[in-house]
Amino acid sequence: MRLREQCGPDARENQKVDWPQVQSIVRRPYKHWEHSAHLILTIQDTRLARKWLQEELEERVRFAGDVYTLNDPEQKFGPMADAPVHLNIAFTETGLHRLGVCRCDLETFDPAFVEGMAPEPEQPPGSNKDPIRKRGTTRRAGILGDLIENHASKWDWGGIATLPNGDHDDDCASRVLRDAVDILLMVFAKDQETIDDYVRELLAGGAKGVSDPLAKLNPEKQTLRQTFLDTREHFGYRDGLSQPMFPDSKVFDHAPERWREFHQVAAGEFILGYCNERDERPESPTLSRASFESEKLPVQKMPANESLEDRIDFGRNGTYLVARQLHQNVGEFDRLVHDTAELIQGDHEDAPLEKAAGLLMGRGLNGEPLVPDPGEPLNLHGENIYNAYGFHHTDAAGIHCPIGSHVRRTNPRDAVKPDPESGLTLSKQHRILRRSRMYGERADWKRFKRRPKDDETERGLFFICLNTDIAGQFEFVQDSWINNPNFGDLEGERDAILAATIDTRVSLPSTPITRWIDRSKKDNPDDPPPKPKPKPKPIVEVRGGAYFFLPGRAALAALAQPKHLAAGTMLNGRTVAEPIKAQELDDQGSAA
């Protein structure tokens, strides 16, 4: 059930994305509007929610085509620029189900999306005494590294009620479980007041058919309602420097050729319905024509069997969106930086703290690459950014930029085996488009000079990335690169910044020998035993997360359009067990 026609390299280079159909966040990170809110919504009433969707589709949901048509530097957002609030909407599997997509149709979506970021541990048929399953972890948790401190039973939202030891958590009423996460609403505006006003109006009285479960459970922890973009993230690094480029974007036209070589990625890696780096069209979800009809959505024939009814291509111009709320323990991070600086002292007399922070990340605090020959810069917004560099020719052994450093793990560029050319091709098949925002109180970037101290402030990164194949892109990066202890022929190491467990180590090779940063152990056993310290926490903790589907314009319209209620949809906060026809609903409405 997929568009099987293959596309040649020419088709990949020359394909034109139908931008007016694609939600704007795919194309722009909204750099000009630094304020935003990310709302996790539950659908209470499908009819009202559909009506709300329809309204927003006409008024506020923004598409990339609008952005592109206008080059006016003042009004960056096109003909509808006077609209004060811009929305982008994505749905989870439960959200789509509650909007009327039947289970049979959901099977055509990406399996990872259907299963969700934190699936409940499953029982194999005929056994509930399974020793692994008793532990309450799943395959996906292993892939994403959501273990121990980051286990899904501890998440604020999107998690599960099964504890790591396999028991059921009766106290889970204080958390928003994955079933309650239906919609991710991304709200962008020029100032925070506009956003607050919009959110207040949206949630007032449940008239829109949606509710914010996080607000109900935890009124004082409303951090996701104030997300923002800044020049640096909480730890102090420049963020979002290296993004893949589409061939028909404006940055692409300005970029030097070597930039294109490293960062030009086919649109099919990020938008469904186009050719990807493998010269295939990634699989696009389809819906049966009975339930959703939209003139804009093309009908495709099933390749496997002509006798089945035609189906509509629901995924076209949409994509999958991965959202994770990552809490940043700034105090722990500072401690790690100080430890590292102590370790490398003597090597780098000048500013060892900054140097240490750079080694851990794989890029300096200002975003400067660590490899000796970082290629040509690109001048963006009056600033030179270096990104056209690989690792293989300049730093294969990781002397300058450690192999285990965060940035090198998340995008190893041409250092993927077997050789630089095919390595670059391979690593491009796993690129993701990042659209992260920060939340919480901003941390002081100059704090490195001081001694590290514990910092419990709630702050972090609302990580968002876009890809068309969750298992092949986001999960691949998480599993085969970030969490892989054997990444790049290392042995038993993890990502210094994202490691879920604390007893991991990172090596910093240099000439002639390598040193290890080991957070759990003291380096020299001959030293006097250190004072008992509090058990170190992970530097980055997962607070919640889910997989979403970010539909295109036509698919969004199709979702909002049906009048009847299928089984599984919501009516007045209750699940509809038997399908209700549109007429019956009207009768009920008039009777009421």
Partner: protein
């Protein structure tokens, strides 16, 4: 040298099993009805698989063993065991045009890789785990009832059920388990030591040089290894197994055998057209008059050539990297290139001269058709030798110049230009080698012997005859090849078309998605994201021609895996620990069992992104996955089973289509019920790296090599 042995036990499961209720009642569940013996056994095996060994080995080294659970398989008691897995291959019905409907029974499959002989292993296994084996294997047909009291009966049963693998690949060939573990420990110790003494090395004592010398460091590390009783055995490493040492020899022998077979076929073909060796002979005979003189001269020529060859070898030795610092860099490259050419020329000339001598001998002694085959063999060897050298572009000297960063577009252009030069050099060499046969003889003739040797024309003539013969044979061989290739293509195309229309729908992602199959792969990754995973799959073989082809392919892959891919990489994939293919039931079904490193997705992705897809296609394109009727309806396959993604000519396409390929593999996957690996935290490159470190540590190395060694640690 121990080469790990492998055991694959395949035992059909009983159709009816009275005791089935017993283990079912064991658990406290009611919903799981154990109606079939294999379900029952699967439950039992699932419970066997406690991941305690994973925890203990990799994450909590200090934690003591929590105690064996009752009735659990004790893998740790088996000292030489590398890995072991239990899988149940479900029963299946195969409908075939030619051989009718075949019922395939459900089988219990146990795979094990271990050090030592099979007898010893079986002995150990029964010694330590008799009760557990009894609990598991009593589900199988023919298992002796009184096996617990008579272990030799059990051993006999297991021995009888052992099936020889069709193809086996090991990523870490020739290493015993103690070797792997000790080397890993050595690496850890060394890195700990380096970490500890880092400050001392960097700062040094006051007045000393700031950095220690590489060689001092090596000496110190050697001492670390020698002092530690646990790892001191690593100093001498046993020689690798025969297949690794002599892989190229075996490959060459196989190539020669193939060439001989092909040559004989060509001979037959030519003979059919009435062209025999006598034609060449008479051609030469007519012209050659003074054979004795020319023979003597040719033997002299060969002696001269041998002397020249020795001289060039000496020159090459002088120009080798160890001695290169005597010359300037550019001179070295020039000399190297020139000497390579000279050496090659000489080799070819020697072969030609040798051929001519043989030809002359044949002519003189009037050995007719009896000697013809031998001579033709010689000719083909000559030709293949020349071609081998012609096709192998020795571009190393030029490539060596361009190592280093390339910073800008201009640099990249330059790099490409360099590559262009290399290609041109290669091309020229290829062309040149083709004209070499007559040319080399002529030139050598004229320069060396022209003024005193009267028989140069004779020699030239002999060479020309030789060239004609080679040319005619090559032409015939090409025609034969074309015929064979087109016949194969036609068969493949016909088979493909028929199968696609009537039998097998290409896999699509939906077919892999039935949520009730999730438990099959739920065990991957476990929970700590360790290196190793296990994968098992069962597919049915399509039809008789496919089966024949599959057998040939499996044998070929087995040969290549043993002799060519024996450095830890199979077809470009560095993450396979072991892979085995077993054909069961007289070739009706194919079982694939593998231990690999990393995630399933990246493992399968490597198959489709790297060149290995050729091999995967050659094997799996002959197979399909049967679908129950209900699922055929749901997936809308028109009553067809799931076939491998569309491939052409057995080797192209197919697995290169990533998502359908993954869907097919998921569809064919079997649940790994019990699995044990002795070193779950190590990857294939780790193990091979550790061995290299150990080897290098005790060798004399240049500074650059030492630097590379320390970088690896």
């Amino acid at each position: 040298m121990l080469e790990p042995a492998i055991l694959t036990i395949v035992a059909p499961i009983r159709k009816i099993w009275d005791g089935c209720t017993a283990p079912c009642a064991h658990g406290d569940d009611d919903d799981g009805k154990c109606d079939r013996p294999e379900d029952c056994l699967a439950r039992l095996l699932r419970e066997q698989m406690d991941l305690g060994w994973l925890d203990r080995d990799s994450r909590h080294p200090n934690q003591k063993e929590t105690g064996q659970r009752q009735g659990e398989f004790d893998f740790n008691a088996l000292n030489g065991l590398h890995c072991c897995a239990f899988v149940i291959a479900p029963s299946a019905t195969k409908k075939g045009f030619i051989r009718g409907t075949v019922e395939l029974d459900a089988c219990l499959i146990m795979e094990a890789t271990f050090d030592g002989s099979m007898e010893d292993f079986l002995h150990d296994l029964i010694d330590t785990n008799a009760a557990q084996l009894h609990r598991i294997f009593r589900f199988c047909e023919g298992f002796p009832e009184n096996a617990l009291r008579h272990p030799e009966l059990m051993a006999d049963f297991l021995r009888r059920k052992h099936v020889h693998h069709n193809t086996y690949f090991s990523g870490v060939p020739g290493r015993s388990i103690s070797e792997i573990k000790t080397e890993a420990l050595m690496r850890t110790r060394l890195s700990e030591y380096l970490s500890k003494t880092y400050k001392a090395f960097v700062n040094g004592k006051p007045g000393n040089r700031p950095r220690a010398k590489f060689r001092d460091l090596q000496r110190e590390l050697r001492n670390v290894v020698r002092r530690d009783p646990l790892i001191s055995m690593t100093e001498e490493r046993p020689a690798p197994p025969w297949s690794v040492r002599n892989g190229s020899l075996a490959l060459f022998a196989a190539g020669a055998a193939l060439a001989a077979i092909f040559l004989t076929l060509t001979c037959c073909l030519l003979w059919c057209f009435g062209i025999g060796f006598d034609d060449f002979r008479s051609l030469a005979e007519a012209r050659l008059t003074d054979t004795d003189a020319s023979l003597t001269a040719l033997i002299q020529l060969i002696l001269m050539l041998v002397a020249a060859w020795c001289g060039v070898r000496v020159l090459k030795y002088l120009a080798a990297p160890e001695t290169q610092r005597r010359y300037s860099r550019g001179l070295y490259y020039l000399a190297d290139e020139f000497l390579n050419l000279a050496l090659f020329t000489l080799k070819v000339a020697m072969v030609i001269a040798g051929t001519a001598v043989a030809l002359g001998l044949v002519v003189r002694q009037e050995i007719a058709t009896t000697g013809a085959v031998g001579l033709m063999l010689l000719i083909v060897f000559t030709a293949s030798f020349a071609f081998y050298h012609a096709l192998r572009i020795r571009a190393a000297p030029l490539r060596r110049i361009e190592i280093g960063p390339f910073s800008s577009h201009a640099a990249k252009q330059k790099r490409e230009m360099d590559r262009g030069i290399v290609d041109t050099v290669g091309l020229v060499r290829r062309l040149w080698s083709l004209t070499l046969f007559p040319l080399a003889a002529l030139v050598l003739d004229q320069i060396v012997f022209g003024w005193w040797w009267p028989g140069w024309a004779t020699c030239l003539l002999a060479v020309l005859v030789c060239v004609t013969a080679v040319g005619i044979y090559l032409l015939a061989a090409m025609i034969l090849l074309l015929v064979v290739k087109n016949a194969l293509m036609a068969i493949a195309w016909l088979l493909d078309a028929i199968e696609r229309r009537w039998c097998f729908a290409p896999a699509n992602t939906l077919s892999a998605r039935a949520s009730q199959r999730n438990h099959i792969w739920a065990r991957e990754e476990h929970r700590t994201n360790l290196s190793q995973n296990h994968f098992a799959s069962q597919t049915l073989v399509k039809n008789l021609p496919r089966m024949l082809y599959l057998r040939i392919t499996l044998t070929l892959v087995n040969f290549l895996a043993r002799y060519l891919f024996n450095k830890g990489v199979l077809g470009g994939i560095p993450t396979i620990f072991s892979a085995r293919w077993v054909l069961l039931d007289r070739g009706h079904r194919l079982i694939f069992l593998t231990n690999y490193v990393g995630a399933w997705d990246s493992y399968l992705g490597e198959f489709s992104d790297l060149n290995a897809y050729v091999g995967v296609n050659a094997i799996w394109t002959n197979t399909y996955v049967p679908l129950p009727e209900s699922e055929k309806q749901r997936l809308g396959t028109d009553g067809r089973d799931v076939g491998f993604p569309k491939s052409s000519l057995f080797i192209f396409g197919g697995a290169a289509y990533e998502q359908p390929f993954k869907a097919y593999v998921r569809k064919s996957q079997l649940e790994t019920l019990t699995w044990y690996g002795a070193y779950p935290g190590l990857s294939v490159p780790n193990i091979n790296d550790n061995s290299r470190i150990r080897r290098d540590l005790f060798r004399k190395l240049s500074t650059a090599e030492l630097d590379a060694l320390f970088k690896r640690i």
